[in-house]
Symmetry: C2
Subunit: 533 residues, 2 copies
Amino acid sequence: MTTLTEATYHSLIAGEAVPGTDGTLRAIDPARGTETGPEFTTLAESQADAAAQAAAEAFGTYRKLPDADRAAFLTTIAENINAAGDDIIATAMTETGLPQQRLTGELARTVNQLKMFAKLVASGDHHSVRVEPALPDRKPLPRPDLRQRKLPLGPVLVFGASNFPLAFSTAGGDTASALAAGCPVIFKAHLAHPGTGLLVARAVTEAVTAHNLPAGVFSFVYGRGTTVGQALVKHPAVKAVGFTGSRSGGTAIMATAAARPEPIPVYAEMSSINPVVVLGSAISGDSTALAEGFITSLNGSAGQLCTAPGLIFVPAGEAGDTFLSQVKTALSQAAGVTMLTPGICSSRVEGEKKLASVPGVTEVGRGTEGQTQNAPAPAVFSTDVETFLTREELSEEIFGATCLAVRYSSTEELKKLAVGIEGQLTATLHLDTEDSTDVALATELVELLELKAGRVLVNGWPTGVDVGDAIVHGGPFPATSDGRSTSVGTAAIDRFQRLVAYQNLPAALHPAPVREDNPWNVPQRTDFLSQLS
Amino acid sequence: MTTLTEATYHSLIAGEAVPGTDGTLRAIDPARGTETGPEFTTLAESQADAAAQAAAEAFGTYRKLPDADRAAFLTTIAENINAAGDDIIATAMTETGLPQQRLTGELARTVNQLKMFAKLVASGDHHSVRVEPALPDRKPLPRPDLRQRKLPLGPVLVFGASNFPLAFSTAGGDTASALAAGCPVIFKAHLAHPGTGLLVARAVTEAVTAHNLPAGVFSFVYGRGTTVGQALVKHPAVKAVGFTGSRSGGTAIMATAAARPEPIPVYAEMSSINPVVVLGSAISGDSTALAEGFITSLNGSAGQLCTAPGLIFVPAGEAGDTFLSQVKTALSQAAGVTMLTPGICSSRVEGEKKLASVPGVTEVGRGTEGQTQNAPAPAVFSTDVETFLTREELSEEIFGATCLAVRYSSTEELKKLAVGIEGQLTATLHLDTEDSTDVALATELVELLELKAGRVLVNGWPTGVDVGDAIVHGGPFPATSDGRSTSVGTAAIDRFQRLVAYQNLPAALHPAPVREDNPWNVPQRTDFLSQLS
């Protein structure tokens, strides 16, 4: 670790290093299975309160920041992260086992997300302003002047993800969209990459200082999820939660948030096995490339992507057999990749054992183990439709490069599968788009799958999420806790806002975004209904 | 009751009259305190399943209806209600005690809401389509074709309100916005106006038939909230709930929905005391008109409006004393109005007794009792800031024409009140907008109150909600279960939709709203980010 040269580091609460009193931790280099880097003190439950208080105090100022200033702040965070990029990537490589190329791409994505939100905020689009001017002569009653906008919810608690130490962590999508909305962020560090997180947290903190913002706009805390994390979910100053992680972790947060005296929204991205449907026409010719593409998508980042294909529906019969034998060949050339932590690796190995032990499940093929510690071989199993639909454990996510192929014998069985699956982040179809029979079937399948998934793809692989204005990274429960929303892309900002209307306020009392002279040059939708036929 | 001439009526499940096996009920004429009209059979818990099943079956067809067809269906509902207007109003007058003029206005609002959603749906605006066409040459990675839209959630369960037998009931705002979104509706009838509900349910059912829609698009069920209501909240086919009623009823539904294997969104509008802040400048001259306006707003519909002013902050000192003496005078000329049910009336009377018994609370004045049964006198009480902030029961809603005046001695106390209140539907300021000191204070107060309320008003009264594009009828908990949204106005449709994206679909597989040739002429936001600086 190049820039973390002290022996001990601490949480950063409102810009101040606060030694935790609940012991210390160190990162583990998963490739070696050994501790690495300095030690980090973890907060006791009672110490978390200060971060929530500071965020609540900062909210009053931060939420009123002009759009241009908030955009500039987000841009500075992006620039600070870029400037520290080499150190961040080097530290992340050691702490997560992820290769340099992947982390370089992830850092660029993290920076670009922040810049995207800066552009969005500068445009004022996120205020969603609607104006209906007074109509004093309307009958039977005059219409008052009404102006609607979206306001930030308040301090947001964000839990970092293990598998994206940058793009879904300290200054990742949840943090960026919450800050963009005008919400201070309390970031609960993921303890598997404590040094990486701290370097990014410093980049954010320096931006807070550079823009003379209240220090409570951002805090970064080390602490156990079950104590510090839960205490912050319960804290009255916290008004929303963003989380990326396991189903058990996410549902525990949902339960705590729902049981608060004032329940708050939870945006937890949890569990998805991302079904891929292979139609007959996709494998009627040579399916070697399809098989290779599948294994590349499955084994990328050791399968530790929210959108990794954990489930594939393959026709029964000869063409399907051939496809799976090509999958077996592709697997035989694939080596295991270092997983993020020894714990994640052992869960993956245990999950696979459990899967393999279900009667009716057989192994299609498996790759080789990787050269490092914690690098189990990628593997594909198969089963039939009835086994899949009757054994609930086969729908559980195994986080890693393990996939289950379900062999279907008819379009009826395939539709039953599409109806039977739980909520997903993605659903993918492979077909020959010149085959009219399969196009007709795919039309029906898209209609079933769009009810189950946040993103529907054709002839691609679900891994790799394009960050922009039209992306959805979300989906019905249990993929997320709130299938109405997305955690990636511009629409993610909506999660941290609420509607408010102003009635008959004199001009002097209007907040800037709804003012008639529109000083921030915000898009205002005026008298929309009168323009409709 | 003019059109309900049979002895017994039943629930309407997917267009069929289904006799309930859990006994019968009759309406009570609250003005006389006697039973009235025919009997209605109530469903047993096990009978509710059929409505949910029918809604689930109808969803597949109904959600795909072209915008123009769904708009025509909503328009037919509006026309059917209008055609049956005289019968509906006559029945509602008997069942609710509300006067003809109020119900005539409410019927017009109900009809206009449906027509507004028809216009909105015909415009295609609600799909919120965003398109990012493929950029095959983008570096470092090509951009896929991505198209985002909003989809209906699925069958919605709506609980009718006691206080708006038309506009927040059978074909009221929740039903209209859910149907507009493409969601079938199961309507749990309010048992205080069973005949009114049935007449409106027939108007909806006839529109379903006239447009050849699957019958399960709409069901209307009589049953107990604790059995039939709860069973439907738990039903796996139900994907969202709309509710208007008490805090205890709303939070019970929230708890059930959160505990489901698949948690679902609940939009409950529950409890609000709608603080009104009187600044010094508002009463520095003659405050007679202000006092009269206040009592008119308080006593309208017997105070049984979600936005009735239940709390008013009045300056301590002489001007405030004078204002309250004018309030007392206005009250002395105000007579009690028939309340909706004997139960609501007795809760109001008990709540007022409890309020009056709190040490530090005194009576300002009271009107006269009405001429009918269940028409208690409107009343205003007063207390000081410390008593208000330390006695939690003083923040509880008393549904009816009872208001508590809190006397404040300084701007600091006033701000403490604004910070100390719970979430509200509305917050109102009264001031002389030419008084620069009060305008400065009001600027600070708007910033505090917009965090607590869904709608902020100046120099008006919160009762009376204008239905349009810029209204917000919502607010932080406990005003609603989901302060992000509104239950009135065009934005209400968003509650029943979720995001989905399509990646690299061939044109033949695109759903109509996202198609490049745009057959429904839907607004499509294309390549938004590239247009920003």
